[in-house]
Amino acid sequence: MAIPVLVADDSKLSRRSVIRSLPPELEYDISEATNGKEAIALLAQQTFELILLDLTMPEVDGVGVLEYLSAQEIKTNVIVISADFQPEKQRIVLSLGAKRFIRKPLDKEELAMTVFELGYL
């Protein structure tokens, strides 16, 4: 069965890169959000099993999305994929419930490995 996945990133190039980098062994039902506000609107309507989340986005950033998930007690696997990889930022997002942190530019194999580590295989 296809895994419902939300890809939230303000860059089309980046969303395309993330979607292309998902391991082909699995099937996905992908939704896209171009900022945190859109991501929250989608999260309010439907359930996602996996969220691939950028941090630096307009309207509401990735930390705002994580805070929303935490406040709503929505349990879902979040992989943060961000260029802002300062140790303090990584600590914040992991404390807000993100399962993993991956640096941009995205390494296809690292994403695949992370998805498998979260139990999707």
Partner: protein, 194 residues
């Protein structure tokens, strides 16, 4: 008011994302040096005339200014605008003793410009597989600079903002490219998007 951006939507999106990645690398370099979190903005890409560039640089009140040219596959100039506010706290994080001398302040400004602008340009060049060399920054005063002498009528401006979380310090980095370099960059972006 900016003039029409000489990039299509996909090129602008790609350039903004590459700049975002470069900014992350630059912020991490500085964060490691001063062991403090750096906030980064979403990069802003516009096209301006020299007069508009002058106005853009003056958006920050009470600031220090540096400029450094870069050469290579693309060439242009990077201008950094550093707020005077919060500079003492940053100096302390960089282990300078108070009170700061005029030489200390100059050294800090040039060092910050070099770290952030240098890392941004290096990151962007690496991702686009372009070769660039950045010259050392020099302090300048926009009031005394004649922007009409710039070699371009319009320039692509890529504006990035860094802020140090525990102080009021902020810094803007503005990249200016001439027409020839813009053409080269667009071709490289198109290859990336293909």
């Amino acid at each position: 008011m900016s003039i029409v951006l000489p990039l299509d939507e996909e090129q602008r999106d790609a350039l903004q994302e590459l700049l975002n990645i470069s900014m992350g690398q630059a912020a991490n370099s500085l964060a490691q040096l001063i062991e403090t979190k750096i906030d980064i903005s979403i990069p802003k890409i516009t096209s301006v005339t020299p007069t508009q560039l002058y106005t853009l640089l003056f958006e920050t009140q009470n600031a220090f200014y540096t400029r450094q040219s870069f050469l290579g596959d693309v060439h242009g100039e990077v201008m950094s605008v550093l707020s005077q506010s919060g500079l003492n706290e940053v100096a302390s994080l960089m282990e300078y003793d108070a009170p700061l001398s005029k030489e200390d302040i100059q050294e800090i400004i040039l060092e910050l410009s070099n770290i952030l602008a240098g890392a941004c340009l290096a990151g962007l060049s690496e991702q686009l597989e372009l070769s660039t060399n950045l010259n050392m920054p020099t302090l300048f005063s926009p009031q005394k600079a004649n922007f009409d002498e710039l070699q371009w009528q319009h320039s692509l401006v890529m504006e990035l903002q860094f802020a140090i979380a525990i102080s009021s310090f902020s810094m803007r980095v503005v990249f200016c490219l001439d027409d020839e370099s813009l053409t080269r960059m667009k071709a490289t972006l198109d290859e990336l998007l293909a």
